[in-house]
Amino acid sequence: MRSWIAVALIAIGAGAAMAADPPPGRTDGPEGSEVGRGGYAHFGTPGSIYIESFFGAAVDIELEGSGDESSMTDLVYGANVGYMMEEWLSVQVGYGYIGGDQKSSIYSIGIRNVLRNEPVNWYMGLDAELYAPDVGDSRFGIAPTAGAEVVISEKLRIGLQYQHDFIFSDDTISINRFTARLQLKF
């Protein structure tokens, strides 16, 4: 079920990417045709909402306390929904699922700080997380994020990101997530 949700989100994003951007406003049209048209429109407009889907690899490393430093690599996928408070700052909530042997859900809420340098932007973020494995107790974690993205159009960005999850428990779990993301603005 979760896989289908992720696939549907990606399909929606791809469909929107193929849709043409609205033409910019002009002053040489019929009288009054300029009404409602603005300038300087671009992706990071404050007040806009975005949705993004992501997928990639989750490398799980259990370190201290377990007596066993093991590593597993599984597929991770999910989606985030965010609100642009400023051109450079957004808040977002998200859900991710790690498949394979790890089988865990990750619910997150956090912030993103975008260093704008279009068409390539850098960003950093910090999320608070609820790590909920299919078997076992849920745990709290934090996850700093760093990534880069390419501005494809007014409504679409694609990017790569690295996220390190610090899951706090007796057997501390660290997860490295390397993901590709597709972000769509509304």
């Binding site: 910019p24 002053t27 040489d28 009288e31 300038g39 300087y40 370190l63 450079w88």
Partner: protein
């Protein structure tokens, strides 16, 4: 535990390094843009406002001339009046309107601004330095029949992060002989803005 704190420290270092990469910023590596494409980087009068006013006035004045079936009117420009608190180059607006009307072939404009220079040129050409057969002198200038003037006013409403800027530009064509205002029209422009942070 030590390894985890080391990782945290490394991430913090990367974050600080990325921020430091920003350095001094300047406007550079520009591109040519279509001047008639709407671009509103700030809340002041801009080239698009000027184009919109000029388009409306030129169309309206042309329609008036056609309706009254006038011959090619001879027009002189009045000094424009800016009643806003903003610096607006109304000469650029005049030039926009004048260029369109002259190029339409329907209006004749006299050059009021060049009168002083032309008077000096008459004096020079009459001084004997210029071939008398080619010298041009006073007495042949055309007389204007109409005076084209304009006034621009503004009203600004601002509450919290919202701002609404309103401009009204009125043009009038006055018969110099009778002082009748034969034609007048205006263009209203309202622009809404939201205050937001700029830069990092």
């Amino acid at each position: 535990m030590k390894a985890r704190w080391t990782q945290c420290a490394m991430l913090a270092l990367v974050a600080v390094s990325l921020s430091a990469c920003a350095g001094q910023r300047a406007f550079t590596r520009g591109t040519y843009e279509d001047p008639e494409q709407i671009a509103m980087l700030d809340d002041r009068w801009n080239q698009n406002d000027m184009q919109l006013v000029a388009k409306k006035i030129v169309e309206s004045l042309g329609a008036w001339k056609t309706r009254d079936a006038l011959d090619k009117p001879v027009v002189i420009l009045e000094t424009p009046k800016n009643r806003t608190t903003e610096h607006i180059d109304l000469q650029a607006l005049y030039d926009h309107v004048k260029t369109a009307l002259i190029n339409s072939g329907e209006f004749t404009f006299l050059d009021k601004a060049a009168r002083e220079e032309i008077a000096k040129e008459y004096e020079y050409q009459a001084s004997g330095y210029v071939d008398p057969n080619e010298a041009t002198g006073p007495g042949k200038q055309r007389g204007a029949r109409y005076l084209l003037g304009s006034v621009i006013t503004a009203n600004i409403q601002q509450v919290g992060n919202d701002k609404l800027v309103y401009y009204k530009t009125t043009f009038e064509l006055t018969d110099i002989e009778t002082t009748e205002i034969l034609w007048t029209d205006h263009k209203e422009i309202a622009k809404a803005f939201k205050k937001k942070s700029i830069g990092l």
